[in-house]
Subunit: 433 residues, 2 copies
Amino acid sequence: MAVGVGIIGLGNVGSGTLQILIENAKSIQEKLGFPLELKTVCSRNVQQKKLPVMDGSVVRTSDWRDVISNPEIDIVVELIGGTGTAAHIIEAALRQRKSVVTANKELMALRGAEFWNIANQNGVNIAMEASVAGGIPIHTVLREGIAGDRILELYGVLNGTSNFILTEIEKSGAAFESVVAEAQQLGYAEADPSADVDGLDARSKLVILAALAFGERLTPADIYTEGIRRVMPVDFQYAHQLKHTIRLLCLARETGQGLLLSVRPSLIPQSAILAHVKGAYNAIWIRGAYGEDTFYYGRGAGSKPTGVAIVSDLMRVAREIRFGSPERVSPFAHERLGEYKPLLMATQELPYYLRFRVEDKAGIIATLATILAKHDIGIDAVLQLPREDWRDLPFVVTTEPAKEQSIRDAILDIGAADFLVEPPFAMPMERGF
Amino acid sequence: MAVGVGIIGLGNVGSGTLQILIENAKSIQEKLGFPLELKTVCSRNVQQKKLPVMDGSVVRTSDWRDVISNPEIDIVVELIGGTGTAAHIIEAALRQRKSVVTANKELMALRGAEFWNIANQNGVNIAMEASVAGGIPIHTVLREGIAGDRILELYGVLNGTSNFILTEIEKSGAAFESVVAEAQQLGYAEADPSADVDGLDARSKLVILAALAFGERLTPADIYTEGIRRVMPVDFQYAHQLKHTIRLLCLARETGQGLLLSVRPSLIPQSAILAHVKGAYNAIWIRGAYGEDTFYYGRGAGSKPTGVAIVSDLMRVAREIRFGSPERVSPFAHERLGEYKPLLMATQELPYYLRFRVEDKAGIIATLATILAKHDIGIDAVLQLPREDWRDLPFVVTTEPAKEQSIRDAILDIGAADFLVEPPFAMPMERGF
């Protein structure tokens, strides 16, 4: 009557999952009406791992093939991450007619639809709640909770590390590099933080959510992506003057002509509920054609919150196995055939925030205004903080709504000016809240 | 291949549901892989109703028995509300082996577990996402999305009308009665607003959520309930001084000794994300043992947001029917046997906000302080707004954490004092955010 589970990968999320499966076993069994039975745990260094007290019958192995080949295991939990061995494990498990639960955003963003098809052909399931936004059950929400709606816009703060860094810069006024060093010390950022601060992790998550929300087959390369390395403390001061703040915003917007998709630092109004997402939290704001706006918020990562997502997926898949019905709600099933090309970000029309660092010379504003006018960009405001200690005078121009292509062209033109200390830094000012 | 649907009740939610089923049919069929086929619509005055353009084959009737007896209908949508005819309809449908989708919070709070058992005996399902928090898929979240967690606390703003009234009082400083009149004109409040402003509607919703979150069988009468009629504009001024605001808060808290459950106006810190829930919105804040805090926000009511909940339930139940597997995730299935008695609210220990309206006499504070001290209640602060135009001098005492029973006893004692214009008004100050 029990459903057998094997876990491959005992890092951060694996140990959280293990803890919940053991500590919360009674509640899980009460809810399901039958137990989830842990059969095997697998990790490269399983003999050295400090694991919680488990039933003596749980097998420990360092070879993932022991999990795949065990006929008592119905569901394989893949938690090693990456796109190499993890892909072999998932494909082998599905072909052995074992369902898979995974937290692997990178692999699911790249090859999720393919694995879904293999799962379907083998009458099993692949579940991936944990791959996006840790403790927020956003996959369940989109797959079932608001399935009856037609999604128009989805905005996400999907990378906790970047959000921690941005809100620390906002709070302390410290520079990007020193905040990253602090985040690394606290364990919020990796030794090599690029996947987080360059937006790549957030991009994978947006691919997975957009597939589910809009039914289009996307690849990470389709998404315009820009990280947070150029955001300076002074940008927050200007943003606050404009009653905005800055977040690494994931955006998917149905325009009528196609989808606009991006991951980039953006100004959002302080009045928006998304502006209250601080530290390592994640959030998603959705606008539906019928349900209007809904908002979801929680821990973006962490051993136990992500473990809840894994265990909740295990319960759902176990129920299907126990009652003989393979899950039919696919994260990819209603995708249209073939790959989809979203709209070019250059077609987006929004007000922009442009920050300039210049040497003190006469006539700079006049030069900029002339170039912007040439590209049909109206100036909304020119802001300069009343401070003496800026050697390179960062000041800001906000524009009327303009095509991103015009902004890019204008920046290229301006780039030739001899007064610039560095290229201008542009962020869209989102208003869709 | 299609799954047949009949709708009983074509009021606000019924017409929203109809609109989505018709306008969004293509997207629904793409996601499901088969169509939802509307067979019959039923309403007392169906001939006079202005309905959207429907397939000519859709039968219109004013007799709900036509829906129940139609063998082509697999799912009955009950949208007439109330606990009378609606109960007959639901029971008859389930006994005819038709699944039911309902928005009826009052009936589900009273008799949901009973209907679930009848559904189970007949191998069909009863779904009720629309009964709580309109456009927020909170039932799905608790039933599946975070099923692996153990819930410790659940806070909700679950009545949009009360929240609209409170936030209008906060914004405009107008009195309760005039804001209610405004809400009635805008269609946000009923001619008789008691179900909303006295907390009864919110209480039904809390019963349904608490059953799912904590697995206890509760009845509305078990929940300490207090409406918002006594909240005055001056309470917001004092709350703001304390960096708090006031909401009609639904609370379910696992204390280790049992559940504390209440619906009552409460002070919540302005820094809490719940404090940003304004107007007719709903929100739920959940703390899990493993997932930590998650937050869900959206439209609390309205024809189309609630329609999304109905249609999403229809899709889920249709899938089960189509693939031959009755849903096994019960909103009540993991309830323990027998009715559960939650803890008495009087055992709650929190700081309290006490507002007094008194005639101007000497020694009032001394008298109050003596009585509070007698009941072991420490005073945290005494606040009086610097205003001349209060004839009856409302002032506020905030206390150190104290047992609610002590607060009640002290209020009784104070009630005997000759300087009171009206009985003291007490609200807990929630800190669990």
